[in-house]
């Protein structure tokens, strides 16, 4: 008789109806921090410029949001928009581009033009991760090249945010690879003209973008926690079969190893860049 009770669990099981959505946390109101997992109210996140107030984690932001944070209001003048073709006839490439264009409202993975930062005229280029991983194909390469050329012609500094450098756009094969040469050379001419280039590496700056123009800044800045490197961490781990060091390929790791000038918080970025522009100013009066 007692045996009957012995196997009885001390708790009651409640069946969960899986169909029913979780109450209380609608997707559009809260966001979970990728780093510390704390829940942040979206309105709070907007105030902190998409930085977690608990741990300082910098959420990825779109190129448009970045532009809004960086340039003086109403000063941005975009370059002539370009769209990609399909040089290798890579199956599905056009559809992918079309989808990315619809989803992001961008023509390709870059926003570029002239703008004022704290009153200084600059060429500003911002890569957007949400457009095919922020990879560099013919359009990104050409726009950056035009950016440096425009800057040479008008004796301007260049500021780029290479966040979202997914690296190469393999659908463009060799054409994508050659954008590394093209952009590096454009920067090379800009450098030889004695002009300032501030390269800001945001999360993630990898592959062909890191191994070309983004590495050729007079000053290289990163956002905290940004992934920076050439080969992706997963590939490094698979190839070497070694445990990766803590913080491998983060901005802090790059700074420690001497690959960066400084790490700057998002909230202070405009101030820092503004000051750097001041110290390199030529004839322009603030």
């Amino acid at each position: 008789m007692l045996r009957v009770f012995r196997n009885r669990p001390k708790f009651a099981t409640v069946k969960v109806n899986k169909e029913q959505p979780k109450k209380g946390l609608p997707d559009n109101l809260w966001k979970r921090c990728d780093q510390c997992a704390s829940m942040i109210y979206n309105k709070e996140l907007a105030k902190t410029l998409n930085v977690c107030s608990e741990c300082g984690y910098h959420f990825r932001i779109s190129a448009k949001e970045r532009l809004g944070l960086m340039v003086d209001e109403g000063s941005f003048e975009p370059f002539v928009p370009l769209v990609s073709k399909n040089p290798l006839n890579f199956p599905g490439y056009e559809a992918k581009i079309e989808k990315a264009r619809e989803e992001t409202g961008l023509d390709d993975a870059i926003i570029i033009g002239t703008a004022k930062i704290n009153g200084f005229s600059t060429v500003i280029g911002i890569i957007d991760f949400s457009f095919m991983g922020g990879s560099m194909g013919s359009v990104v390469g050409e726009q950056l090249t035009r950016g440096f050329e425009y800057a040479i012609e008008h004796q301007l500094p260049v500021v780029t945010f290479s966040g979202g450098g997914g690296g190469a756009r393999m659908h463009e094969g060799i054409f994508s690879l050659m954008q590394m040469a093209k952009t590096s050379q454009a920067r090379g001419k800009h450098h030889r003209a004695g002009l300032l280039y501030i390269s800001v590496l945001t999360h993630p700056t990898m592959g062909g973008i890191y191994a070309s123009f983004a590495s050729l800044g007079d000053i290289i800045i990163a956002e905290p926690g940004a992934l920076i490197g050439f080969a992706g961490p997963r590939i490094v781990e698979e190839t070497t079969r070694q445990k990766l060091p803590t913080g491998f390929q983060t901005a802090e790791f790059a700074l420690e190893n001497g690959m960066l000038d400084l790490i700057v918080n998002r909230s202070e970025m405009k101030d820092y860049i503004g000051r750097l522009l001041t110290y390199h100013a030529r004839d322009e009066v603030v």
């Binding site: 756009r169 094969g173 040469a181 590096s184 050379q185 050439f230 080969a231 992706g232 070497t240």
Partner: protein
């Protein structure tokens, strides 16, 4: 790794039969020349039918053949003298890149190239020809030295891609590759690049910016290796044979795209079958192109080099596609109508 490929098997068998027959003729002293001639004619036909229809993936495998000439093999065959110069003067000597001064066609030139190993032991020492940052830095040091002394630069490229290693990342291979690309572009000496085997991504381009780019017949050149491409596309690197076709990485494709200037013919069956003949073909092409480059005034040469890369890219101004997207919008309206019709039918 076996030194012959699956698709070569029938040919290898036939070649063995010919060899046996020849031995037999010598031993027995009987005249089988008619039969021998017939077999050799068959072998020739087979060779042509096999090697003239190689798929892109088969070419990639040819480029990786363990007996294919390496940079040091080419250096021995192409130059009358060669003095190897080592080290990046900062960290260490990277054996995955070799360089030095060679005598080509009676004149000193600077040579740098990726160096794969012949066997496992050498491959470990040379890290399978995958350079660390100090390797690229050595290459750059030697190229700048060439500029100082007005020597033409010859680069021999054979690398599957950049090295995905912890230390290579720690020491900033991205930065140094960028620096190589940028500096090479402005060097005031003629630069002749030869893709001898594999031309994989940034690792290849780091010593691949030049006035002329030559490519061996069974070499490949792209932004990514077929395996990595297949891994990204289908999460399955065993489908590399498919991605190899998509990447358009053969010399024929690259000539069409105007990415390279000359294809150096290899002996039928690949460079590994006859190193000397391959080197002779390459030497002839190098001689021809270097002679042209040396006649161009240096200002003009650098300008042309920059212009060559400036022109690369396939894009169009958006205005043209505005009409396209309008057409797409019409399609959207059509499909919306279809939906409504479907709903009405239901």
């Amino acid at each position: 790794m076996s030194s012959s490929f699956e698709w070569e098997k029938p040919l290898i068998e036939l070649e063995e039969r010919i060899k046996e027959l020849k031995d037999f003729i010598v031993e027995q002293n009987i005249d089988f020349s008619a039969e021998l001639g017939e077999l050799e004619r068959k072998a020739d036909e087979l060779r042509k039918s096999i090697y003239e229809r190689l798929t892109p993936w088969q070419r990639v495998l040819m480029a990786r053949h363990p007996k294919r000439p390496t940079t040091l093999d080419y250096i021995k065959m192409l130059f009358d003298d060669f003095i190897e110069l080592k080290g990046d003067r900062t960290y260490r000597d990277d054996k995955a890149i070799v360089g030095g001064i060679g005598i080509f066609n009676g004149e000193p030139v600077t040579v740098v190239g990726h160096q794969k190993g012949r066997d496992t032991k050498e491959n470990i020492a040379r890290n399978f020809g995958l350079p660390h940052p100090e390797g690229y830095r050595k290459a750059l040091r030697l190229m700048k030295q060439a500029e100082k002394f007005g020597r033409p630069i010859i680069t021999l490229i054979d690398v599957v891609g950049a090295y995905p290693g912890i230390e290579a990342e720690q020491r900033g291979q991205g930065l140094v590759i960028a620096e190589c690309i940028e500096q090479m572009s402005f060097l005031r000496v003629p630069i002749l690049c030869v893709i001898t085997g594999e031309g994989g991504s940034g690792g290849a381009l780091a010593i691949g910016v030049g006035d002329r780019v030559l490519m061996l017949e069974h070499a490949w050149y792209s932004v990514i290796s077929p395996e990595m491409c297949a891994n990204i596309l289908w999460k399955d690197s065993s489908r590399a044979s498919e991605s190899a076709s998509l990447l358009k990485l053969t010399p024929t494709d690259l000539m069409k795209f105007k990415m390279i200037d000359d294809v150096v013919t290899e002996p039928l069956g690949g460079a590994h079958r006859d190193h000397e003949v391959t080197a002779a073909q390459l030497r002839a092409s190098m001689k021809r192109h270097l002679a042209i480059l040396k006649k161009i005034p240096i200002e003009q040469l650098v300008e042309q080099r920059l212009e060559r890369y400036r022109q690369i890219g396939h894009f169009q101004e958006k205005i043209i596609t505005e009409t396209l997207s309008n057409i797409n919008n019409f399609n959207d309206i059509d499909s919306e109508l279809d939906c409504e019709v479907d709903e009405a039918n239901e």
